[in-house]
């Protein structure tokens, strides 16, 4: 099996998708930021900081999705028609989910993964003074729909 980003001589390229049809595609990715009890308590404490820390991370994730082709060298610049980033505080930290939708020629898995990781980085930046040991973990595509390869769901 070949790595599709590499041509027959192994050189990196942006794969030609000009002949692929435009179709509606979605991708959902998830991930977690593991935090100390103290950091979770602050996020949960219900005064404004909590809202803002998650709010800043959510905006970072949405804007991060738009920067995917700037960050991933061989990623196609594509239209993004919908991005939703959710953050939920749990006992171990914060769970992040990103859902991205497009009607274009390539899938949006990388955009969904980028949204999750940038939201996670944005969250860590907000609480690193409290918890310098935060960990980003379990960042992964959960499902994708649309496109020639069809639907895929993590088993």
């Amino acid at each position: 099996m070949n790595l599709t980003h590499l041509d027959e001589s192994g050189q990196a390229r942006m794969v030609d998708v000009s002949e692929k049809p435009i179709s509606v595609r979605t991708s959902t990715a998830s991930g977690r930021v593991l935090l100390s009890e103290e950091a979770v308590a602050i996020l949960r404490s219900g005064d404004t900081p909590k809202g803002d820390a998650l709010g800043v991370a959510r905006i970072a994730g949405i804007m991060g999705a738009k920067k995917t082709p700037d960050l991933i060298p061989l990623c196609h610049p594509i239209a993004l028609h919908g991005v939703k980033v959710s953050l939920e505080i749990v006992d171990e930290g914060v769970e992040i989910t990103a859902r991205v939708k497009t009607a274009d020629k390539t899938g949006v898995e990388m955009e969904a993964l980028t949204a999750v990781t940038v939201a996670a980085l944005g969250l860590i930046d907000m609480i690193k003074a409290v918890d310098p040991a935060a960990v980003i973990t379990d960042v992964r595509v959960e499902e994708k729909t649309g496109g020639k390869t069809g639907d895929w769901r993590r088993s």
Copy 2:
């Protein structure tokens, strides 16, 4: 304890560091991309694709470090004086380490974490046709040196 990015009324701001002295600071972060056996075998197979897949991810990580203030809403734009991103193939996937150095007024933990995560995203983009189930995990600061709060090392 307060979240330093939020002012007394809980509103997000970029913290004033204008009075902080310039000092040499470093940060090392690490993370892993978990891959299927097939994907690891392809990366290990020693023909050009392997080099290029890791090489693209390495460049993505270095360039990602430079984009940190674009990605993290409240991060200061600072000088970056050295960035090194290493990728090592192991049985479970690829281990990534980023070391960032600066002589400036704030630390570079976010830059090191960003370098690791963007390298991980870049790597996944290279192999997602082979392994759509890749997972980014254990992304964390390992140590930092310099600055007023002094050295910190993950225990």
Copy 3:
């Protein structure tokens, strides 16, 4: 009535437009930069500086329109098919008009407003040594055409 960028729980998201049809849409926005008499006289004085100051502002506005999705957190990245920025010197300063056109799934009001404001910022940067008290004022959408909500014209 709801804010369409916020979902039912009030969290920011990029609204899903994947099902919206592609149609030709235009938007015209305008604004003014109020300047001192001395600054207006310099802009009017007919030697090269005048042309260049307006020329730099015009280019800033056109390039600014292209950066709209980078600047506005929840704005969709869309195709821009035509951008025209006009600056006219008047007694009180400079009047700026931007007209943006696309054939895409969302309107271009934000792009037109961004073109006007960035042109205004670019102009101020050129003359702030002469007039540090310049004011940007009356930046607003004048009209839009196309899309499901149809034409709109400021009354």
Copy 4:
């Protein structure tokens, strides 16, 4: 009097500041977004949307300040050591203030003006479905401190 961004033949250039000393400089700018009564009522209504709409605008403004040298053609890329953007709902709409601080070779008036205008654009994007007639007005530098030309305050 000359336009400092233009050389003796009237051609645009980025002015040489390499010999200027580094000093602490601040700038405060303000502006307003005029809104319909209905839009103000929604922003005031106290459920989550309000917080988020202002929160998104605030983040847009802070990130916008960092993009100033990308937007303003002849602006120097400089360090930003602190950025604070405040939004207050008033009867006519929203008042925006941005305060920017640096220790560098040039002033930060353009950064403060950019923070205000991008926050205003971000706010309009959040409420344009409710109020397509929003107007950005009275964007101006209120004061600056530091640098060779010294302090300046709008009279």
Copy 5:
């Protein structure tokens, strides 16, 4: 004959292409970096550095193609559906070819030229310690296909 980027009064604008049909278009551009014998020998010497220097330049070129509308003031932001950058070591230095493909409303000549020049800049950055006298030369469009003006080939 007119310069199409300038309107009837000579002011720069982004030309309206909203009515142009979407069609598959390609462009190939080429260029050369002239290097010293010593630099060519190092690039040819077959250990890892050689691969990496060309690999970094190739990635720079591909990513540069995506940045074309950020770099060229009046360029339309368009979809890029395929980018391939090739570098070949010859006696005088390195020959670079870029081939860009899209299905959109405008041609991709500027994207192909940008890919070649940014790859050349990336290569020079890798070897300038060895050869500070490197020269970029003969950067030009070789051919384009598609679009209303039809195919064109350098004679």
Copy 6:
């Protein structure tokens, strides 16, 4: 001799310059765009378009210099304290010179080369409808001053 961007194992990295002193450094680069007689005549014809075509290219070059660390993978993000881009119409086309100045830890040769090439691309974009066969040639560093390696001048 080694390629300084590659470490002992040949992997790309951003070289550590944190210990290098800050000093004033300049670099001048030049290049040419070869054009058809018709294109030169249009540029020379003295009505507004001429000024604007060169003006747009000049702004593109200055803004391009600021984007150097975004374009060149291993380039340090540094302060730019002065950028001047000159374009002169000659019989064969347009000669471009860029002079860049900084007080920082690394040289600005790449910034000067980037300014020249992006100005050249910007110029070609303005006249490609008239002359699709334009060629960028002879882009090279003419001299640099400052830094540990001292002054260098093309012989």
